[in-house]
Symmetry: none
Subunit: 210 residues, 4 copies
Amino acid sequence: MTVGESYKDRKISVLKEPKQQRAKIKVAKVLDSAKRLLVFHGLEKLTTNHIAKDSGVSVGSIYQYFPNKQSIILKIYLDWLAEVKAEVIPFKEASLAMDASTLCKSLFRIIYADHIKNTQDQLLEKELTKAMRLFPELGEVEKQHSSEMIALMSDIIGNVLPEYSDEKSIQLAIFFYSLDSSIQQFIELGGDKKLAFDWYEKVVMETLNF
Amino acid sequence: MTVGESYKDRKISVLKEPKQQRAKIKVAKVLDSAKRLLVFHGLEKLTTNHIAKDSGVSVGSIYQYFPNKQSIILKIYLDWLAEVKAEVIPFKEASLAMDASTLCKSLFRIIYADHIKNTQDQLLEKELTKAMRLFPELGEVEKQHSSEMIALMSDIIGNVLPEYSDEKSIQLAIFFYSLDSSIQQFIELGGDKKLAFDWYEKVVMETLNF
Amino acid sequence: MTVGESYKDRKISVLKEPKQQRAKIKVAKVLDSAKRLLVFHGLEKLTTNHIAKDSGVSVGSIYQYFPNKQSIILKIYLDWLAEVKAEVIPFKEASLAMDASTLCKSLFRIIYADHIKNTQDQLLEKELTKAMRLFPELGEVEKQHSSEMIALMSDIIGNVLPEYSDEKSIQLAIFFYSLDSSIQQFIELGGDKKLAFDWYEKVVMETLNF
Amino acid sequence: MTVGESYKDRKISVLKEPKQQRAKIKVAKVLDSAKRLLVFHGLEKLTTNHIAKDSGVSVGSIYQYFPNKQSIILKIYLDWLAEVKAEVIPFKEASLAMDASTLCKSLFRIIYADHIKNTQDQLLEKELTKAMRLFPELGEVEKQHSSEMIALMSDIIGNVLPEYSDEKSIQLAIFFYSLDSSIQQFIELGGDKKLAFDWYEKVVMETLNF
DNA sequence: TATGAATGAGACTTCATTCAT
DNA sequence: AATGAATGAAGTCTCATTCAT
């Protein structure tokens, strides 16, 4: 690194860093507001003007960081999907060392636990689902995420049950992944959570022939 | 009844029928357009003006038959729910005479068959689900429908498996009813329909201890 | 009158009379409904469709008898103005025989009495005033009516007080005619009717130097 | 205050003022257009789109300053009422020092003068009266204003004529306040303004027994 | 002629996005 | 770069009037 470069770099950094910093803060404020509005007022009331007022970031600035309204929701959505994925990823490595039955149980518990989370997260998820259905772009993202999740899960299944063909692993992954919406609805319809836990776990274990 | 009266009656009928006929045709046109727009352009593009343009029925006429936009979606939704319910109702009576295992298999087959229907119906269903989440009124209707379906199914379960408590029948009904959304998603995600059939049937049968 | 003519006339009459009769009845129904709606729901809710439904006369028929909505209101308005005028006309003849003071008192009583009439008439008048201000055509009619009333009243004044110049009679007529809106508002504002009577009568009598 | 602060303050003011300035200008433009349309085309043509076109302010901007159409009319109405009230208020204090007869004459002159104003103002007042009758909200405002004006006037009467009971003062206030509409109509009907002045003044003075 | 279904201009309002400052 | 006022297309719905039957 030359002195010149270093100087230039430093100059850039002292000039840019604060800005990037501020930008990050603003972006965070916007996303926080958007989430809050989503949770407390629903997707219908999520207007850019509301976000601006709630976040204290001007509309103009919002459009500096996001090309349009949907991209704000998209960011929230992507973050959420990443969280979901992050919960499952560790199991991929673990699947090489753990025995099949134990891993499945833990994995199931993780997924199941998601449905007993706090109300705000639930509401956010619901509104995001709305958005996902309403904006085709988000729908695409959801598809992409599903693929990745299924790939991940079929890898795990492949690891713990090497006797299964790839195809069968994939189908099982789809099956388990799909089961999630069913659990969600079961609880929404006022089903008993204890029973849900037992039945769905049984479904999983038996489909895997444990 | 005199000949004259009979003639008059007939006359009235030919005078009245066309009006009702025309009205029915218009209503059908509106509903068809609404469905088409829903399927091909999504709920977002379902505006009264678009329906008017697409159906060839003027906005004014639309509002002669429907008090507001939502009521159009509501009608489509109700029709669809009625269809769904109509498929299950016959099983209630049958459940008194049939043996449990056979009945469950046929019932499952009916439900399952719904998911191999043509793409347009699937898309329509998807958009209706959107709408249901977006408009509180439809949400209410959906809740009501769910309750009825679950009551229906728990009655059937009560008939074929009298040894189960009412509570258990209800929970099972909720479980099976919820399973539906899972099947739907399984297929949407590109899951193998044959496998889906086997697995879900197995889930049903085993949860019932057959 | 020739036989031919007589026959023709009769034919026309037997063919036309019932129709004219029916027409009159329909027109009356329409006007009644319009008045009723005006009184009970206000000018804002006075739509041709409402009149049709309320009167039992179809929209189409209404447009057979009235060129447009305003003309319905116009008819009601004209009828009302005619009534008002009819109350004053007798005084013109009487003014030749009666003494000034007595006549003025009776005339004042008539006008004043109008403001103690039943609520429905009051409401109708209020709505008609609205309409008069809203539709320029009615405004014109009102102007015409005012002119006639003022001419009538200045004639009366001219008869009972021949010593006044025509110009002064006219100005007095305008003055008295204008006073009416004041009385109306006095009562609307919750003024004491007995006091109103005394004061306004005094104003009239003193302006005429009685 | 340091020079720096002062400078900053000034800077803030030059930064802020334009916005408030622009806003004020826009609001003024909107109100001016609304008045103009009211005067030249009547309440019927007073639509938000027309105001937008006429004022050169976009619909969106109009709705930035006014929550709905009626609030535009309300503003105009309130401004006008405030003007009217502002003219009378000074008389309340004056009424403690002035002799009754003089005060009444000046007060009358003020009120009377209002009716010799230019035609546009007269038309505007007329249209506002229309609006007041048409929109319940405005009606309420008018009622409130009437109450205040009558209270004000009865206070004045109470001050200059302490021998009158409160009740009599109120009734007189209502009487004088009502008289206004009569004067207005007198002039509208083409009555001679000089005569009007004399007669109405006489009515006032005599009712007060001067 | 009578009917009332059909029409569609136009009213009010919202909100994503732009742009002058 | 930041601001937030400004924009105007587009949405929902009404109602005077027409016109096919």
